[in-house]
Symmetry: C2
């Protein structure tokens, strides 16, 4: 079983040199995020991830959760780890200081979250869901709801859940049927069944605060008739004291491919006289509120792709460095470690390059979230928000699809041992496999990108991004050598492919929406690799600058340039084929009648 090591060197590089920690710390209200504090937070988080969370990753997968008498027991060690997590204040990291949070920037919470996800993805889902529920209450909760729930949710004493899905309402929440019946005292009784509720029930916290989508009796049909309710597991008095058990039960937990330690619950509301809840915000606007929160949730799932790719890479690298097998193809030396074999190297470089590119892009987007939120200039806020909105489906879709690929490559590096569960490499693939599905499948991300984020605004944000990436060409041209020539040429081809694809989407969306929708996933992948290549090119430039300055750690910077070139020559080269798929690939997608399949 492998140990996880927090990739602090690369995290710092991406955070400082690419995402611009200094600029983020200069935003009003972010004064605390000075380099010393952030370094200390990162070191402490790394310690917690490696010492507490990582050792529970395999046991969590093996033992899973159990349900008995409506109560879910998490795997051995999870309760204790969660207690330590709360005690150390990790849950409150990026929350509002008004409710006990530490108010650190999104950029800092992004990298800390990467560590939780990489060390123990199943565990990390609990605080992730709590964060989503906190955000909903922060945005739309009443003063009383905030006062009652937020302090204990921010500390992590209570956890949160998001109850959206029902058997007939998955990607399409318009079909939600759960009912909310108004009571004379202003509260509501909730009746209905929710499925796929992550940490819907567990033994790590003294209360669980469910946010539940339901319909009021007079609600309009479809998406415009869905409201959001807070429904705690235990009722909470106005004084914040825990009261009676609410009428909400976990009736079963799913047997899943991965994330075994994260209980995925079927929740029954109102099997007796109705689960007591209170309305969040205004009636019939629940889905709208969910959409406001969606960026954060989708970004967080994108980070899971980064994290699992990193974890899989570390494990594969460790195996490749120690497993002796076969002869060196160049020197003929017998019995070398497999890291000497070019094809194993290719796999390791692929994992390394993709992981670094994804991390860089995710952090850059996190920093833009901070700027969109806190920049003193309204124009800068708008510009950053437009960039964030455009990039969210890319970070979510591309990083998760790539995360699965990297986890599968990690198995491949292990050969036969990768297929043996005890090795641990297979768990990363099994865990990763959910990430392209939940919080909106890749297809839904891609449609969001092509339709809402590009076509609807005539491609303005996308073209602005293309111009920014294109402008890097001048900087790349100034650096000598084959590495930069190769990076420059692949990036230029990628930018051109992206430009053609965006033009096609803008022109084609109104004309043949089905064909554009059919090309949306290739479009998303194209965005992903070009933006990844953009960040790797920036990374190479930053590294060249440091080398010129004679910075220590020259090996790291030299490796960064090589890795950027590897990305250009092995990943970015897919750009033209992807653009062809965007432009021509959709034509046949709807051409068969259903019976012809």
């Amino acid at each position: 079983m492998s140990e996880y090591n927090a990739p602090i060197r690369d995290i710092r590089f991406a955070m400082e040199e690419l995402a611009g920690l200094a600029s983020v710390a200069a935003l009003p209200g972010n004064e605390e995020a000075n380099p010393e504090l952030v370094a200390a937070v990162l070191d402490e988080a790394a310690k917690f991830a490696t010492e507490v969370l990582s050792p529970l990753n395999a046991v969590g997968d093996r033992e899973g959760c159990t349900l008995s008498g409506g109560e879910v027991r998490t795997p051995p060690g999870f309760r204790d780890a969660y207690r330590k997590f709360v005690e150390a204040g990790w849950n409150a990291l990026d929350c509002d200081p008004e409710f006990g949070g530490q108010g650190l920037p999104r950029l800092v919470s992004a990298l800390v979250r990467e560590l939780w996800k990489a060390s123990n993805m199943a565990f990390s889902l609990c605080p992730l869901l709590t964060a989503g529920a906190i955000e909903a209450l922060m945005l739309k909760g009443s003063e009383e709801q905030k006062r009652i729930y937020l302090p204990k949710m921010v500390s992590g004493e209570w956890t949160g859940t998001m109850n959206l899905t029902e058997p007939q309402a998955g990607s399409d929440l318009a079909a939600v049927r759960t009912r909310a019946v108004p009571q004379p005292d202003g509260s509501y009784r909730i009746f209905g069944q929710k499925i796929f509720i992550t940490y819907g029930e567990h033994d790590m916290a003294s209360n669980i605060v469910h946010l539940v989508l339901a319909r009021l009796p007079d609600a309009p049909e479809g998406v415009k008739g869905i409201s959001l309710f807070v429904v705690p597991k235990f009722l909470v008095g106005a004084d914040g004291a825990i009261g009676a058990r609410n009428d909400v039960q976990c009736v079963s937990i799913e047997h899943k491919l991965g994330i075994h330690a994260s209980p995925t619950c079927v929740m029954a509301y109102g099997e007796k006289d109705g689960a007591t809840g209170t309305l969040v915000g205004e009636p019939n606007r629940g889905l709208e509120y969910m959409f406001i929160m969606m960026n954060a949730a989708r970004f967080a799932v994108g980070l899971e792709g980064v994290a699992l790719a990193e974890r899989a890479y570390q494990q594969a690298l460790e195996y490749a460095r120690t497993r002796v097998q076969g002869r060196d193809i160049v020197t003929g030396a017998p019995s070398v470690t497999i890291i000497h074999h070019p094809d194993v190297r290719r796999m390791l470089m692929t994992m390394k390059a993709n992981t670094e590119a994804m991390r860089a892009l995710a952090y850059v987007v996190a920093a833009a979230q901070d700027a969109a939120w806190k920049h003193p200039d309204a124009g800068e806020r708008r510009r950053n928000q437009a960039f964030v909105d455009l990039m969210i489906p890319v970070v979510k879709g591309w990083c998760t699809e790539t995360g699965i690929e990297m986890a599968s490559l990690g198995i491949q590096v292990h050969g036969g041992m990768g297929f043996i569960e005890e090795t641990g490499a297979a768990q990363h693939l099994r865990d990763a496999r959910i990430t392209t599905i939940y919080e909106g499948t890749t297809g839904i991300q891609a449609l969001d990108l092509a339709g809402r984020k590009i076509a609807r605004e005539g491609g303005a944000s996308a073209r602005a991004l293309i111009a920014v990436i294109g402008a890097l060409d001048g900087d790349l041209a100034k650096v000598q050598g084959q590495d930069f020539a190769a990076i420059r040429s692949a990036l230029a081809a990628g930018v051109e492919a992206l430009r053609l694809a965006v033009d096609h989407v803008v022109a084609g969306f109104g004309r043949d929406v089905a064909a554009v929708a059919a090309g949306a996933v290739p479009l998303l992948e194209l965005f992903g690799i070009v933006c990844g290549g953009w960040q790797m090119a920036r990374a190479a430039l930053a590294a060249a600058k440091r080398l010129e300055e004679g910075a220590p750690d020259a090996d790291f910077y030299r490796a960064k340039i090589v890795t950027a070139r590897f990305f250009a020559e092995n990943v970015l080269v897919r750009a033209e084929g992807l653009a062809l798929r965007v432009i021509h690939g959709g034509g046949t997608v709807m051409a068969l009648a259903e019976e012809q399949f």
Copy 2:
């Protein structure tokens, strides 16, 4: 849980129109393989696969095998299914009639095997391993070995295994340490441990015949000192009667990601006084014998990729046809089945197109195996053998990598339900994940392709193939319409990319073997998609001809043309990017020092 339906229509099309069953049946000794008999075999096999094997696929996965007191118990129903399999004569299908086989062509056994693999891959591995052991004994066994073992192995009463791997000897069999000590009576005592032995122990047959690689006391080091031995579980008298239990034990079974119903055994030879075995063929030539058999084994694993892609496709299609979710993006109709959504269609078309392309290529290679074996003209035999040798790593590597991808897409079509084990979609991915590893990883296939099959002969066979594919251009040009124009243009670009890549490999192998080796997997993928596109183009031409003739089943032929175009515009378009990776991608692969990872 999905039911499997044998895809008889497409199997017959690929077998008759693309692989040329008529020509195979015209080969001397294949007279029995007339269309009526083959159709009857196919129908019966389909019945067996759907009625007996498919219903055991999920239970086999869920229950797995158990080991107790050295005995392995297969999952409920497996013993009985195997008995029926043997009674129906399926094991003997393509075996030599001299030993009770039916002597049917490779082409016919390939399609029948696809059905076993698709309906129950874990089950199918037992007869697959027996077939490998039969082939070894047919090729190199003594008259007595053949007489004693073959009739019962051909019938399936006894099963066979291949014992190659040891903990330190996986891809590199030169490191085998198992010892064989000669005895005065001409037999040998075997001592050592073998791992990853598929069906090394089980309860479905009355004897298990192990073929074991081991070293004689005076053997030279490395690959030239390995001999092959027959070591039965129960000793067999000269009269064929079962005697005493041999000193070979299953000491543990692996806990694997997939193929749970197939016991993967650690086998201990000679824990007491040595396992009694007899030498196969000459001393120190065991590895050479293994290589002779390798084509058949690798081809069979390639078929697993085809089969699992088909199975995953069927299950995804069934779900997409029945699951109601969301609004039709074109008509706006609410609550449609998800097959109406362009992105779901894209996934289904991707699965359909890849599966049909892989099947066509695999059957064409199977037919070439028949011609290489039995064609009356020596030149034709040589030409076919060269094609088979070139294609084996492609069928193995490309079909298995694609099979994994398709199984993962199958999960994606299911959304959240795909992640739930009871749905059954995840099993196909877990089962498929071994196929790129065993019988030589994709990296090893790719090195075989680039080195042994291309560079060593200066690219002659590869260029002959490129010429054959290129010659299709004239036929494609003769057919009117956009479908054929699109197919023609993508295939031409694919052929050109392949030509450049092959030129690079031929020129570069001696100069920078590491860079070529680093580009070998992209080269293999390039071969796969161009050969797949070649077969789909042939399929489209055959379909156009049938349509022109006014053949019934016009829907099938029209779908074939659309599917071929989809393949051209969505899969073949990757060719240029792959060629770039072959030519330039390897440069950075070895550029980092080990410490820079």
